[in-house]
């Protein structure tokens, strides 16, 4: 287990620099600061901009690592999986159907207790082709033991990448983690980012230590021999135990991040915006926060008590905390860029998950409406958000609403 003893007073603010960078570039900078050992790339838009930056960092001698261009995503993820088993800190990523092409490798990685950190530049799954954001790519691994976190700005992308390595490589975890950045809206959008110094990062992020699981001639082990029904269930239980610990480890790491870097994220699992006195709230992930926040600033001026909950961590899903945060509102509207075709109430993944958490953990259960929007990368406008808010208010006032509605769909 990683322990940190760096005295905060040694770290001076002036060590930070400010840079105008995209979400992808912020992740690349984080990997540089994390002194990543092995990176594998394969092109697919929009995540691949991160690999352009990585390639340049390596070419310029700013990052000392093995940079391997694979022949497909399956190999991309298999290469880093084995590199990680041999003790290397790794980075890779993908988007859309590229992520799905890697699916076999993605499936085995958590079971092998390999702490990969990957970027998913969220992209619509084919067919038909579309570059824009949808969340079904990353969500496809939600039941496999991956940790999944969504960010909505470049600063958060950089910070979360550092946090990701610390969480994934914690001996209590040792499972892979995917950072989701909405394609185009975040991967390609620039903003000012505070870049910490490598000295600060060294204090936060110790070297990856694979310990007794290291694949090396000095540690003769056989990794993942055929186990069959004799032992698989016990091994599954160990992965399950990781998920039992996950929320505590994440809380611990965020607290330490705040101690060392001085940036506060409050509750790690979700961000609350104007929720304190709100009557109804919307809940969503990623850059949907932008139109929602703009719309809510406007609606607040009109006296409407609206708030927003932006979910960061989807896996682990902090069910009890989310339910506790939402149970007091009169209605909840989920706004999401994904589908779960054939699911209960034909809702999206997020609403289905949220309803499950509310059913188990909320003392009172407000109606949870689901709004499917922004598919294929379509823009979700301030007007769309106002319409969603209006429908959620109607539900709060007792008017029956369909549980799932499409927003921004051509008539």
């Amino acid at each position: 287990m990683a322990t940190l003893t760096a005295p905060v007073k040694e770290i001076r603010k002036s060590e930070e620099q400010e840079a105008l960078i995209t979400g992808s570039e912020a992740i690349a900078v984080a990997c540089k600061l994390a002194n990543v050992d092995v990176i594998t790339a394969y092109p697919i838009r929009p995540y691949d901009t991160v690999m352009q930056y990585m390639s340049q960092l390596v070419a310029d001698g700013e990052l000392d690592c093995e940079f391997i261009v694979a022949e497909g995503e399956h190999s991309q993820f298999e290469i880093v999986k084995h590199a990680s088993a041999c003790g290397a800190r790794t980075f890779c990523g993908s988007s859309g159907v590229g992520w799905m092409y890697a699916m076999e490798a993605l499936t085995v990685t958590p079971a092998l207790r390999i702490p990969l950190v990957a970027l998913v530049g969220n992209r619509t799954l084919d067919d038909p082709g579309a570059f824009g954001v949808e969340h079904n790519d990353a969500l496809s691994v939600r039941d496999l033991g991956w940790m999944l976190v969504w960010v909505d700005n470049a600063q958060e992308a950089l910070d979360t990448a550092l946090i990701a390595y610390r969480v994934a490589e914690d001996r209590r975890m040792f499972v892979p983690l995917a950072i989701s950045c909405d394609g185009a809206f975040l991967t390609h959008s620039q903003s000012y980012v505070k870049v910490p110094s490598s000295e600060q990062v060294k204090k936060f992020l110790p070297r990856y230590d694979r310990g007794d699981l290291l694949l090396h001639p000095d540690n003769v082990i056989s990794v993942a021999p055929q186990a069959n029904e004799d032992w698989v269930m016990e091994m599954r239980r160990q992965n399950y135990a990781v998920t039992e610990r996950a929320c505590d480890v994440i809380r611990e790491v965020y607290a330490d991040f705040e101690r060392i870097f001085g940036r506060k994220y409050g509750n790690p699992f979700f961000e609350e915006y104007l929720t304190e006195d709100a009557e109804v709230v919307l809940l969503g992930m990623g850059t949907l926060s932008t139109p929602v926040k703009v719309a809510f600033d406007k609606l607040r001026k009109q006296g409407k008590k609206v708030g927003f909950v932006r979910l960061r961590w989807f896996r682990p899903f902090a069910g009890p905390e989310i339910a506790k945060a939402l149970e007091r509102f009169k209605a909840v509207g989920v706004i999401e860029r994904d589908l779960s075709l054939g699911s209960p109430d034909l809702s999206g993944v997020v609403a289905t998950e949220l309803r499950s958490a509310m059913y188990s953990h909320a003392k009172t259960r407000p109606p949870v409406l689901d709004f499917l929007c922004g598919l294929g990368g379509r823009e979700v406008t301030v007007a769309d958000v106002e319409r969603i808010t209006d429908l959620t208010f109607q539900a709060a006032n007792g008017k029956q609403q369909p549980l799932t509605q499409w927003i921004g769909l051509r008539g």
Binding site: N35, D37, V38, D64, C65, E66, I68, A70, E71, G72, H74, S75, E78, I79, V80, K81, H82, A83, S84, A85, C86, G87, A88, E104, A105, V108, R207, L215, H216, P217, N219, V220, I221, S222, V223, A224, P225, Q226, A227, N228, D230, W231
Partner: protein, 342 residues
């Protein structure tokens, strides 16, 4: 002018074993596996481990040598071993080699030559994993060896056709029926030739046979010593899948060579060296035996008619008489024979 090959990190200097009596007693692949009686693939694993020695990491793709060979609580491996997915032999070796290089450069690990060997069967190598192996073989500055044990079928899953299964073979996916006698009408993929011709920076490719155990070990040692990404293709007779008495496994392997069906050669920095009986065949010192001597000893060809045998023989004759590099590269000096109607 000869090709300039990429320099790699130093490798282990593994001299060839000069005779069976010089082979060390130490085993790094021992008891615990559950393979069938007479399994030549498991024998090959033993030879690989013996040849490579203790400072080695082995990555094993799904197949017989995973499922039947490496069981929880009973691993036969005395060197570090890790399972890799069916199509990922090439990627797994590259990942391990990349990690070692980065961590040695950064001073995390002691800087020393460590062998990285990934193995796959014909399903994992010639079918699913071909692209990954090909990509890895272009990574000229990593030291790693990929070995393909070829039992000419997906044997572990119950003997199904792969792209290295011989023409006409009876497998559970190509069982002769009332209307079609020959369900598998594809010719065996020339994997070693593909690796040589397609990857000009690779310094060593060899075909081996467990019937020539000493040479098989020495090929492994040569590949690991010469460095860079290297490839070895081994033909492994499979008593269960090929339907013969386990007692004659070595004889079957010899017949594959002596009939000219399985040419033995190594290519070191572009130089082709035929060896064993293959060399004698090429130099006209040994007359190839009829393919029927090999085929009819195996139940998997029991349905063959004289016409099938004649076609098989004509294809092997073509390989020796008409290929520009006989037995190795199928560029022809003249038009090929045509397949019989089936």
């Amino acid at each position: 002018m000869s090709t300039t090959y990429v320099e790699t990190k130093p490798t282990q200097e593994l001299e060839a074993f000069k005779g069976v009596k010089k082979v060390p007693y130490e085993e790094y692949f021992t008891s615990g596996h559950r393979t069938c009686e007479g399994c030549e693939s498991a024998q090959f694993m033993r030879l690989i481990a013996k040849a490579a020695g203790p400072r080695t990491i082995v990555l094993g793709a799904t197949g017989c040598m995973y499922v039947a060979n490496t069981s929880y609580y009973a691993t036969p491996w005395g060197i570090p071993w890790m399972h890799t997915q069916l199509g990922a032999a090439g990627s797994s070796a590259l990942g391990a080699a990349a990690a070692l290089r980065a961590l040695m450069r950064k001073g995390v690990f002691k800087d020393e030559p460590i062998n990285v060997i990934a193995f796959c069967g014909d399903g994992g190598g010639a079918d699913m994993g071909l692209a990954a192996i090909s990509a890895t073989l272009t990574q000229a500055d990593y030291n790693l060896l990929i070995v393909m044990y070829d039992n000419e079928s997906y044997a572990n899953t119950g003997i199904q056709v792969s792209s290295t299964s011989p023409f006409g073979v009876n497998t559970t996916f190509s069982t002769p029926g009332k209307k079609k006698r020959i369900m598998h009408n594809r010719w065996k993929k020339n994997v070693a030739g593909l690796m040589i011709a397609g990857h000009p920076t690779v310094k060593y490719v060899a075909t081996v046979s467990t019937s020539y155990a000493l040479q098989a070990m020495n090929s492994v040692r040569r590949a690991l010593t010469i460095g860079g990404p290297t490839f070895i293709h081994c033909l492994n007779p499979c008593p269960k899948g090929w339907d013969f008495d386990p007692a004659i496994a070595l004889e079957i392997g010899n017949l594959a060579v002596n009939t000219g069906i399985w040419p033995l050669y190594e290519v070191e920095k572009g130089e082709l060296k035929l060896y064993g009986k293959t060399r004698e065949i090429a130099e006209g010192r040994f007359k190839r035996l009829p393919v029927a001597d090999y085929l009819l000893k195996q139940g998997r060809f029991a349905h063959f008619t004289d016409e099938d045998l004649a076609y098989f023989q004509s294809q092997v004759d073509d390989m020796w008489n008409n290929w520009l590099v006989p037995g190795v590269i199928p560029l022809r000096k003249q038009a090929a024979t045509t397949a019989p109607s089936v």
